[in-house]
């Protein structure tokens, strides 16, 4: 009898734990269900049953039409070339950060991170400033060219390769390379036979991420590609906004999502192989100051590439924002509050700054709650075996592209039961959907790194499960939470692909205003776009600098 009662009480304990775990899973699942799965399902529904019954003609149009096939082909082609180019250019940079110490390294690292978090609209503006009419490289005639798109993509994703590959590289034990050298391998053989095989999973992962970003690239292509170049993303936008052909846009979205799923599966396989056991060392043991002339040249050359490739466009952008027709001045900045209302911009652009900040704060809070709960369910103590599925579900919005999310909101949330399309609340929700996967990505490795025995020790010392969470998990992830908040804030500030579909004219965000200004003729509008881009860049950079201050030496699994 006593034994039975005891077992019952033990069962009750386990039951309570399951309930808490279930609730932690339920919130992110409900959120993703309403704001992600439902809109995506609506797209599929709209694409397959445009008139209420199954009708594959829009999908057939997309697949057979030569123009759309050209668009799909170009989407894949530009992403492949961009990703390959990014890895080639950034791999030496990753090496330099991983293996060498030099003055100002922390600062350079932080600076390299900036382009990655810059809003796509700002990247577009910056390259337009460099390559467009009146830009320092305007004479090359690269405005609206394939080359412009490629260089902008390299600019954008340089940091991804440095973070992912350099992150692993910095932890690789250099003694393995030493061992190969002692066994008679020269530098190149050592790199090929020892270093490269260890790095291969990271390189594959980085290339896959970059490919995905380029595949779903929207703002950059819309601004730099002009009418000549369009990808699936920009085509979805054009069909929706210009031609109001929603069934066709939905069909394009379906093709796009299918392609992304394939890419994610391939990337997942590449990442799965990362699990092999590597001998990892603390960063402090693996990097040193360059010693020979050759080493100094490698470091110097890479820093020069970073300065020109990453620093150049930003410098030109800033310069042109002050370069008014009457000499350098603040004219374009003043114009932000003075510009006339137009058919597409109802409010002075300066109000967009305020809107963006408010939306970013709200989106950060939502993303932290959703991403945080999901991360805890996936990697916290007593993790649920089903949480792995949540991991995938959570990653999907990242892959499915912001444009799809925005388009899905547009067609799904305008009727019951979720008639909220008119509400500005949708904007931070869309942003949070994009940011939550990042939040989870930042938190999961930190949560996983917590030795379960720390929690066990705390429990044996008298801490209840809730207390263990408060005393152990929370303090250890606190800094990662701040980093995640910074990322979410920056992502929301710069989000463009989804926002362009759902931002109402009276609540524009800064990226939307920049895009509209760039679309309008005239030096004043162009200059105002430059000025607004500089403001957006400055705010985003501040958020990132805050992240770098709190950054753990050992996080950053992207």
């Amino acid at each position: 009898m006593r034994a039975q009662a005891a077992t019952l009480r033990a069962d009750a304990r386990i039951g309570r734990r399951r309930l808490v775990r279930g609730l932690m899973l339920a919130v992110p699942i409900a959120f993703l269900g309403v704001f992600f799965v439902y809109p995506v399902a609506s797209i599929v529904g709209r694409g397959l049953t445009p008139g209420g019954s199954l009708d594959l003609s829009p999908l057939a149009d997309v697949v057979t039409d030569a123009r759309f096939r050209g668009v799909a082909w170009f989407t894949i082609w530009q992403a492949t070339v961009s990703a390959a180019l990014t890895v080639l250019v950034a791999l030496p940079g990753a090496y330099v950060f991983a293996r060498y110490e030099f003055r100002g390294k922390r600062l350079v690292r932080a600076a390299v991170l900036v382009p990655f978090v810059l809003p796509t609209v700002v990247v577009g503006s910056a390259f337009l400033a460099v390559l467009g009419d009146g830009g320092p490289l305007g004479f090359l005639g690269l405005d609206q060219s394939f080359a412009a798109i490629l260089v902008a993509h390299v600019f954008f994703n340089y940091a991804v390769v440095v973070l992912v590959v350099g992150g692993l590289w910095a932890h690789l034990d250099p003694r393995q390379e030493d061992a190969a050298r002692v066994l008679g391998a020269d530098r190149w053989q050592t790199f090929r036979s020892v270093t490269l095989p260890s790095l291969r999973p990271a390189i594959a992962a980085a290339a896959a991420i970059v490919f995905l970003f380029d595949f779903t690239s929207f703002g950059v292509i819309l601004i730099l590609g002009g009418p000549r170049y369009s990808t699936l993303e920009t085509e979805i936008y054009r069909q929706t906004v210009q031609f109001l052909d929603l069934p066709l846009a939905a069909a394009l979205s379906i093709v796009q999502m299918a392609a992304v799923v394939v890419v994610l599966l391939v990337a997942g396989r590449a990442q799965g192989r990362r699990a092999e056991a590597l001998r990892l060392r603390a960063v402090a043991e693996t990097s040193r100051r360059p010693r020979t002339t050759g080493e100094r040249a490698v470091v110097g050359l890479n820093l020069a590439v970073m300065a020109v490739l990453l620093g150049g466009p930003i410098a030109v952008l800033v310069e042109r924002s002050f370069d008014t027709t009457g000499g350098y001045g603040l004219g374009f900045y003043r114009a932000l509050s003075e510009l006339r209302r137009t058919s597409t911009i109802f409010v002075p652009p300066v109000e967009a700054v305020r809107n963006s900040l408010v939306f970013a704060c709200a989106a950060t809070v939502i993303a932290l709650v959703i991403g945080g709960l999901a991360a805890f369910a996936i990697a916290g103590p007593h993790r649920s075996p089903r949480a792995a599925g949540l991991d995938t579900l959570l990653l999907l919005p990242l892959g499915v592209s912001a444009v799809t999310i925005g388009f899905g909101f547009l067609i799904a949330l305008d009727k019951r039961p979720f008639d909220v399309r008119a509400s500005p609340v949708l904007i931070p929700i869309a942003h949070a959907l994009v940011a939550a996967p990042f939040v989870a990505r930042v938190l999961i490795p930190v949560l996983r790194s917590i030795d379960q025995r720390l929690r066990d020790t705390a429990a044996v010392l008298g801490a209840s499960p809730g207390r263990v969470w408060r005393e152990i998990d929370l303090p250890i992830v606190a800094r990662a939470l701040l980093v995640a908040a910074g990322f979410a804030f920056a992502i929301s500030l710069g989000e463009f692909g989804a926002t362009i579909f759902i931002a109402r004219p009276d609540y524009p965000t800064l990226p939307v205003v920049i895009f509209r200004l760039l679309r309008q003729p005239g030096t004043l509008n162009f200059g105002a776009a430059m000025a607004a881009s500089v403001i957006l860049m400055a705010v985003t950079t501040l958020a990132i600098l805050a992240i770098e201050r709190f950054r753990f030496a050992d996080i950053g699994e992207f």
Binding site: T7, R13, I14, D456, T457, L461
Partner: protein, 316 residues
């Protein structure tokens, strides 16, 4: 008094503990000795409440502990390494258990200081735990486990990650501490020197079961079966003419007219003796500890003798 009866723990299908019966009396130190994978750490985790048993009972003074969650069992647990809270300083680590029991801050701090002095770390209160050496970290972990005055202190390879000299010094200190505080303790280790030096009784574990339970002298002099004998470094052989027996390397002597003939196949210097591997004719290799000036070389033919009173007969 801790009483464990018919305890069974599984990880999925794998049986980690297979019917453990063990009693630890008040003030007694029982060492759980065994190779890795024998289930000894699982035993501690089960007693701490961190692994739910499939079957069996864990009792304290007659009360069933099975439904009691870990944080209410009032036990102390110390792991081999890496379990100091990295985000807290030394004194906050030591005072953690007291804080969980709602001891007022000033009394908790005083008690924590007292324990730091006890483990020889007075003045370390506000050091970061990540700055401490391995030995210092283990002392802090010990102070932390002792601070709430647990009714049972469990140690899981507490000295395993330390170098030999430090390990031997801490072994003496621990023994003193156990005696002085009259601690009831379960001490897990894979090192029989450690187990014999510290414990009142030793439980040798093998494949989730207790292979032998007894005082250090009993276990050392009369290994109960082949597994225990081999684990303690005995030769197990039936080449001595009295059935299957266990014999220690230092019980075998080299004698010109000894009854067993063999050839030296390996020779290792072991500080105070040489350890020879002697392949005997139509039999296994035996380890023989030899001292003196004339140590046979590899390849030498030798003859061995053994004192019959140090040969331990083994059950078939």
């Amino acid at each position: 008094m801790l009483r464990i009866a018919e305890l069974e723990v599984r990880y999925g299908e794998a049986v980690a503990l297979d019917g453990i019966d063990l009693v630890v009396g008040d003030g007694e130190v029982v060492s759980v000795l065994g190779p890795s994978g024998s289930g000894k750490s699982t035993l501690l985790r089960a007693v701490a409440g961190l692994e739910p048993p499939v079957r069996g009972r864990i009792e304290w003074d007659g009360h069933d502990l099975t439904p009691v969650p870990p944080h209410r069992r009032q036990m102390g647990l110390m792991f081999q390494d890496h379990t100091l809270f990295p985000h807290r300083d030394v004194i906050a680590n030591v005072a953690f258990g007291l804080r969980m029991r709602r001891v007022p801050a000033d009394r908790a701090a005083a008690r924590a200081r007292e324990l730091l002095v006890l483990v020889g770390l007075g003045g370390y209160e506000h050091r970061r735990v990540t700055e401490l050496s391995g030995g210092e970290q283990q002392r802090v972990a010990l102070a932390r486990a002792l601070a709430p005055a647990p009714r049972l202190l469990m140690l899981d390879e507490p000295l395993g990650s330390l170098d030999r000299a430090l390990r031997e010094r801490l072994m003496v200190e621990l023994r003193e501490l156990f005696t002085r505080l009259g601690l009831t303790s379960l001490y897990v280790t894979h090192d029989h020197d450690e187990a014999f030096a510290l414990a009142d009784r030793v439980a040798v574990m093998h494949d989730g079961r207790i292979a032998q339970l007894g005082s250090p002298v009993e276990v050392w002099e009369h290994p109960a079966n082949e597994f225990v004998a081999r684990f303690l470094g005995y030769n197990v052989t039936d080449a001595l003419g009295s059935g299957r027996v266990a014999v220690r390397p230092d019980s075998l002597r080299i004698e010109p007219d000894g009854p067993i003939a063999g050839v030296v196949t390996a020779r290792t210097f072991r500080r105070d003796h040489f350890l020879l591997e002697v392949k005997i004719a139509d039999g296994p290799a035996l380890e023989v500890a030899v001292t003196g000036d004339r140590i046979p070389a590899v390849g030498d033919a030798v003859r061995l003798a053994v004192d019959s009173d140090v040969v331990v007969p083994l059950p078939p």
